[in-house]
Symmetry: C2
Subunit: 371 residues, 2 copies
């Protein structure tokens, strides 16, 4: 394998046939840097759990580095950022789902405040009532400091993004096409506003057209990066019901807004409520349900940074201070600290056991803010 | 105590101070005939569980027989029927609640088909939506053979009665006043139709004016005689929520119809749904939930009457045939069978243990239709 940056290796892995999100995640955890995957021997790859022969062949025989370089050029030219699974800006909640996308194409910017996200989704053919409700809930969520996640579709989705933007809040649109595509076309203005005041996100390579069969997979990202999913209006065959059931699988809260019986647009929401979704009338109904998770986070954010005990070694303090601003890979810690590798590993382990640092995927370490 | 008919004794017991529905029920079960209560000695009454001194004094010193006779005259003149707790026409489900009224004043007629009753209740100040929903559900229930129970109030209640009547079904109005009173006054026509095609029912003495403080107690009868209660529209302070919580205590199903959020008239129903009430969109949603109880009843109605085994004694067969058409009190069984009392009691006990007859309150017995 020629010398490439990490992103080239990520993109290359994404092109390997027979390599699903779950195996991809295993590779990332095991090899930390995807470049190491391409440097690995066949026998090393064969030891990765559940990694199929097709995927191993694809890795060992990978040749398309020129295309990858061209792709990186196109991504750069389109103003798109690649955010890989092990990056600090990768959405924290999304990392916890069973099949997180290894790589996100991002237009705009993902921020750590987006960890407090709530999805608002629903019918493309929304009623005036549905649009009004989507607007009011999204505005209320934005005012309460939540990032509003949705799918930028017509109807409820578009209204949710717009209301969050108008309230001065953040919003994330998860697309079922390449992230550079504006779909539906009439949402051109909305696309621009979201990229300036939030982020558009896709796991699909640029150039991918919006195809219906990509939408269910997209929906798992909408629920995956959110604390909960609010279904505003949904027919019985709505994709929003798929999002809701993915949310349940992912352990996310599901909320549904009732409407008049006899309106087919409310039938999906009513079915969700019968199945146990929380009936929502106001933003407070949502906050009440997700409050436990929020309080924990807010408490963490307010706490003063942890200080090591007075009797800590100078080496431990050095390493701990290196990890204050950003997470670092083990190799970076070794390099920047100027200490011997075994000593660094020993100190990191001690700090982790004492609760001062925590390990992230990809052999990265970060300082804990609070116990 | 002078010689009076049974109803006079019932009415007299109702006038005894300190005698609540629960103690009343105990007296009825213990003495079978209320005349025996007035014939009982003070020491016999003192042995009745939880019967207070005030109630015992009231029974022993009861003097108002003249007033009772006058009351009976007024009841007769008003075309009102008295249905006491131990009567066959007393609503079977109502008998099972913790505090069944000892005596019902009935205008019209209670029938055994009314055992399959569903209550439809809601706001007096209903919206067009609420009225439409009440109409459609009540009509559907009536068409499916259910008696629609409600409180004859303005709004949802009135609409529910009317729709059931228009569908050619039966309906029961439970009043919070004397049963001869038409309240609200504009429901005069409705009152006439209900008395002809169903029943108006009250536990309150004739002449009692409609007072708000009587309505919650009234509501326990609405739920008590029904398989379930459907709340169509209800504000957060609606009496319908009281009916719903009484229904829960009584083990009845609670159903609620959602509406648009932001409508204060739907807030009560939404709260009920959050608390576990079944969300209702169609009559089928109701039928589905109460089907298990219905199937049992329908099966019972269709079954051929039980026959005693061939080797049964002639005496047992005689007694069993006496009980085929109607329930009888022990004394009546003794009298009509011409058998000695101890033998009758022994046979009844055997038949009961074998599942051929069952005991009813007031020492009455009835033949079982099916095992």
């Amino acid at each position: 394998m020629p010398t490439h940056n990490e992103y080239a290796a990520w993109l290359a892995l994404c092109r390997v046939k027979g390599l699903g999100c779950v195996s991809f995640k295993r590779l990332v955890v095991q090899f930390a840097d995807p470049r190491d995957v391409f440097a690995a021997s066949r026998s090393a790859l064969e030891q990765v759990e559940d990694l199929g022969a097709e995927a191993i062949d694809g890795i060992v025989n990978f040749q398309e580095w020129t295309e990858i370089d061209e792709e990186i050029g196109r991504i750069r030219d389109a103003g798109i950022t690649l955010v890989c699974y092990s990056a600090a800006s990768y959405p924290a909640r999304l990392r916890t789902i069973a099949d997180p996308p290894p790589l996100l194409y991002v237009k705009g910017e993902l921020k750590s405040v987006d960890d407090n996200a709530v999805a608002v989704v629903g019918s493309r053919s929304a009623s005036d009532y549905g649009r009004r409700v989507a607007h009011d809930l999204a505005r209320g969520l934005a005012r309460a400091g939540f990032t509003v996640v949705s799918g930028m579709a017509r109807g409820i989705d578009g209204m949710a993004h717009e209301a969050a933007l108008n309230a001065g809040g953040r919003t994330i649109a998860v697309l079922g096409s390449g992230v550079e595509r504006t779909y539906p076309p009439e949402h051109g203005k909305l696309y621009q506003r979201i990229s300036a005041q939030g982020a558009l996100v896709s796991e699909l390579p640029i150039g991918t057209r919006p195809m219906a069969f990509n939408f269910p997979a997209r929906n798992r990202l909408i629920s995956g990066m959110s604390l909960g999913v609010v279904v505003v209006e949904a027919t019985e065959k709505s994709g929003s019901l798929i999002t809701a059931s993915l949310a349940v699988e992912q352990g996310r809260e599901v909320f549904a807004v009732p409407g008049e019986i006899g309106s087919s647009r409310s039938r999906g929401a009513h079915r969700l409520i019968r199945q146990g979704a929380k009936l929502v009338e106001t933003v407070d109904d949502i906050l009440e349900e997700i409050a436990p998770q929020l309080l924990a986070r807010r408490g963490a954010a307010k706490a003063t940074p942890l200080a090591l005990p007075q009797n800590s070694s100078a080496e431990a303090r050095k390493i701990f201070s290196l990890l204050q601003d950003a997470s670092l890979q083990v190799d970076e810690v070794i390099e920047r600290s100027g200490l011997a590798a075994p000593r660094v590993l020993q100190i990191l382990l001690e700090l982790e056991l004492q609760g001062y640092v925590r390990q992230l995927p990809g052999k990265r370490y970060a300082a804990e803010n609070t116990h």
